[in-house]
C-alpha cells in the first residue's frame, strides 16, 4: 500500500489551500468554496485513517467512512443555509454596490 503520510500530506495541503481561500477571499461564496475544500481535506484524512489504522475496537470498523458521510451531509446543509443567506442579503440591498455588499472584511 502507499504509505499513509502520502494521503495525510495531500489532505493537509488541500486543507491549507482551502483555509487560505476561506481567509483571503472577499466574496461570501468564494469563502464558502474554501470551506468546502477544507471539509474535503478532512474527509480524505478520515477515509485514509479508516483504510490504514488498526482500530482500537473491532466493532468500529466503518467509523471513518460513516464519519465522512456525515460530514458530507452536513456540508450540504451548510451550503444550503449559506446560499439562502446570500440570496437574502442580495435581495435586501437595493444597490449592487460592491463595497457595500462586500461583507468579508474581517
Amino acid at each position: 500500500m502507499i504509505p499513509l503520510p502520502f494521503y495525510l500530506l495531500l489532505a493537509a495541503a488541500l486543507f491549507c489551500i482551502g483555509l487560505f481561500g476561506a481567509l483571503a477571499r472577499r466574496n461570501a461564496i468564494a469563502i464558502l468554496m474554501g470551506i468546502e475544500l477544507m471539509l474535503n481535506a478532512v474527509n480524505i484524512n478520515l477515509i485514509a485513517f479508516w483504510r490504514y489504522i488498526q482500530p482500537a475496537a473491532p466493532t468500529w470498523d466503518l467509523a471513518g467512512q460513516i464519519f465522512a458521510l456525515f460530514v458530507i451531509t452536513l456540508a450540504a446543509a451548510e451550503a444550503a443555509i449559506a446560499l439562502a443567506l446570500v440570496i437574502a442579503i442580495y435581495r435586501s440591498r437595493d444597490t449592487v454596490n460592491v463595497e457595500e455588499v462586500d461583507l468579508m472584511k474581517w
Binding site: 476561506a22 484524512n45 478520515l46 485514509a48 460530514v71 449559506a82 461583507l103
Partner: protein, 489 residues
C-alpha cells in the same frame, strides 16, 4: 431499534424532537392562524423536556455503543438548556409579532437548537461532538438571520456562518487526527490510546489536535481569537436570539470542552505543560480584550457581546485550574458549572431588559437610554442587578460564580491569572455602569412611560429573582454541580 430503557434515557431529546416536528407540522398546515399558539406549544415542550431531564437525574449510562453519555454532567446541561429555551420563548413572543411572518418556524428552529444543546452535553464521541455542534450552529445561523428583511440580521448571519464554518472545519481536522491515532471515534478509546502510548510523537499530535479542536469550541464560546463573529452576530441578530446565543452555545460549548479535555487529556500527564499555558494566555486575552473593547461600545447589544466574550475568559479560568482530586470545594469544574448557571440567568436577564426597551421603543443605543429610570423604573433597576451580577459584585449570582472560579485559580496557584481576572471585573464595572449612568442620570428627551409586555416582565422578575436567590441560597446549586462532577472524577 433502541430498547425502551434507551428511549427513556433520551426522553428529553425525544420530547423536543417530537414537539419541534409538531410545531412545524402545525405551522405548515394552519399557518398564521396558529402562530400565536405555537409559542405555547414550544413552552410546553421545553417544560416537558426540562421535567424529563430532572426526572432522569441520577442516571449514569452510555448509550449507542458508548457514543452518548447520559450522566449527571450531561443532565446538568440538559436542565440548563430548556430553562434558557423557556426564557427565550417568553421574550420572543412579542418581539416577533411585528417583525416576521414565520413565527412558527422560529420556534421550530429554537426547539431544535435546544435539542442540539442537549446532544452536545451528552456527546462522548468525535462524530457526535461534531454533529451536535454543527446542529446547534446551523440553528443559530438560521435564527440569527431569521429577520430576512433586516439587513443587519442577514449580514450578521452570514458572517456568523462563514466564521463558524471555518472554525468547525478546523476543529474537524483535529477530530480526524484523534480518530487517526486511536482508530476509534469514542473519547474513551482516544484516552486509552493516549494513556497507553509512551511515544512523544503522540504528544505532538495531541497538542496539534487539541489546539485545532479548541478553535472550534473556542468559536462556540467566543474565546479570543475566535471571537470576531460575536459582536456582529449579537448586534445583528433578533434580540431574543442574541440572548440565546450569549448563553446557550456558550454553556454547552463549555460542556463539550470540559468533557473532551477531562476525558482524553488525563492520559497524557506531561501534556499540561503545553496545554495549561495556552489556556492561560487565551483566558487572559479573552477577558482583557473583551473588556477593553466593550469600553468603547455605544450599542447595548454590542456591549453585551463584548461583555460575554470577557465572561468566557473568566469561565476558562475554571478550566485552567481544574483539579478533580481532593475534597476541596474549589475544583475548577464546579466553578465553571456554577458560573455558567449564574451567567445563564444574569445574561438572559440583561437581554430581557434590552428587549423590554427595544420592543416598545426600538432603542438599542446606550445614549438613548437616557432617563430610563423615569420611563421604565423596573427595567432600569433590574439592569443594575444584572450588571452587578455580570461584574461579580455581591449579593448576586455572578459573585458566587466568580468566587468559585477564582478560588480554583488560587488553589492551583494561578495567582497572576486570578489577579488579572478580578482586575478585569473592575474594568467591566466601568462600562456596565455606563449604561446605568445613561439610564439613571441623564435627562430623557422623551419622557413617555415605556410599556413592558407582561411576559417580558415575568421573565425579568424570574431572572432577577434567580440571580438574587442563587446568591442568597447557593447551596442547591453547589450540590447540583458537585453531583454532576461525580462522574468525571
Amino acid at each position: 431499534m433502541p430498547d425502551a430503557q434507551t428511549l427513556w434515557l433520551i426522553s428529553p431529546e425525544l420530547v423536543l424532537a417530537i414537539f419541534g416536528l409538531a410545531i412545524l407540522l402545525f405551522a405548515i398546515i394552519w399557518r398564521e392562524r396558529v402562530y400565536g399558539a405555537l409559542a405555547w406549544v414550544a413552552l410546553v415542550g421545553l417544560a416537558l423536556a426540562l421535567a424529563a431531564a430532572v426526572n432522569l437525574w441520577g442516571a449514569h449510562a452510555r448509550l449507542f455503543a458508548g457514543m452518548y453519555a447520559v450522566d449527571m454532567f450531561a443532565l446538568f446541561f440538559k436542565i440548563v438548556a430548556p430553562i434558557a429555551g423557556i426564557l427565550v420563548v417568553l421574550i420572543s413572543m412579542d418581539y416577533l409579532r411585528e417583525r416576521t411572518r414565520y413565527r412558527g418556524e422560529f420556534f421550530v428552529l429554537l426547539t431544535f437548537a435546544i435539542l442540539a444543546m442537549m446532544m452536545m452535553a451528552s456527546s462522548a464521541n468525535l462524530l457526535m461532538i461534531f454533529l451536535s455542534i454543527e446542529f446547534l450552529s446551523y440553528m443559530s445561523y438560521l435564527l440569527t438571520g431569521f429577520l430576512r428583511e433586516d439587513r443587519k440580521s442577514n449580514e450578521a448571519a452570514i458572517k456568523y456562518l462563514l466564521y463558524g464554518a471555518i472554525t468547525s472545519a478546523v476543529m474537524l481536522y483535529g477530530l480526524s487526527l484523534l480518530y487517526g491515532i486511536s482508530g476509534s471515534l469514542n473519547l474513551g478509546d482516544v484516552a486509552l490510546t493516549f494513556s497507553k502510548s509512551a511515544d512523544t510523537s503522540v504528544q505532538t499530535l495531541a497538542l496539534v489536535a487539541t489546539a485545532l479542536v479548541l478553535a472550534g469550541l473556542g468559536f462556540k464560546i467566543s474565546l479570543v481569537p475566535f471571537h470576531q463573529w460575536a459582536p456582529d452576530a449579537y448586534e445583528g441578530a433578533p434580540t431574543p436570539v442574541t440572548a440565546f446565543l450569549s448563553v446557550g452555545p456558550k454553556a454547552v460549548g463549555f460542556a463539550v470542552l470540559l468533557r473532551f479535555t477531562l476525558t482524553t487529556l488525563p492520559g497524557l500527564p506531561e501534556f499540561a505543560n503545553y496545554w495549561t499555558p495556552l489556556l492561560v494566555i487565551i483566558s487572559i486575552a479573552t477577558m482583557t480584550l473583551g473588556n477593553l473593547v466593550a469600553l468603547r461600545q455605544t450599542n447595548v447589544k454590542r456591549l453585551l457581546a463584548y461583555s460575554s466574550i470577557a465572561q468566557a475568559g473568566y469561565m476558562l479560568i475554571g478550566l485552567v485550574a481544574v483539579n478533580l482530586g481532593g475534597s476541596s470545594p474549589f475544583s475548577g469544574l464546579n466553578g465553571v458549572l456554577i458560573y455558567l448557571f449564574a451567567y445563564l440567568f444574569t445574561n438572559l436577564g440583561a437581554f430581557v431588559c434590552v428587549i423590554a426597551i427595544e420592543n416598545a421603543t426600538g432603542i438599542v443605543e446606550i445614549p438613548e437610554y437616557a432617563g430610563l429610570v423615569k420611563r421604565a423604573p423596573l427595567v432600569a433597576a433590574l439592569f443594575i442587578v444584572f450588571f452587578l451580577s455580570l461584574a461579580g459584585i455581591p449579593p448576586t449570582a455572578g459573585f458566587v460564580g466568580k468566587f468559585f472560579v477564582f478560588g480554583a485559580a488560587l488553589r492551583e496557584g494561578f495567582l497572576v491569572l486570578a489577579a488579572i481576572g478580578v482586575l478585569n471585573s473592575v474594568i467591566s464595572v466601568f462600562y456596565y455602569f455606563g449604561v446605568v449612568r445613561a439610564a439613571f442620570f441623564l435627562e430623557p428627551k422623551d419622557t413617555s412611560p415605556i410599556r413592558v409586555a407582561p411576559l417580558v416582565t415575568l421573565s425579568l422578575v424570574v431572572t432577577a429573582a434567580m440571580v438574587l436567590l442563587i446568591a442568597v441560597y447557593p447551596e442547591p446549586l453547589f450540590n447540583l454541580a458537585a453531583w454532576s462532577m461525580a462522574m468525571l472524577k
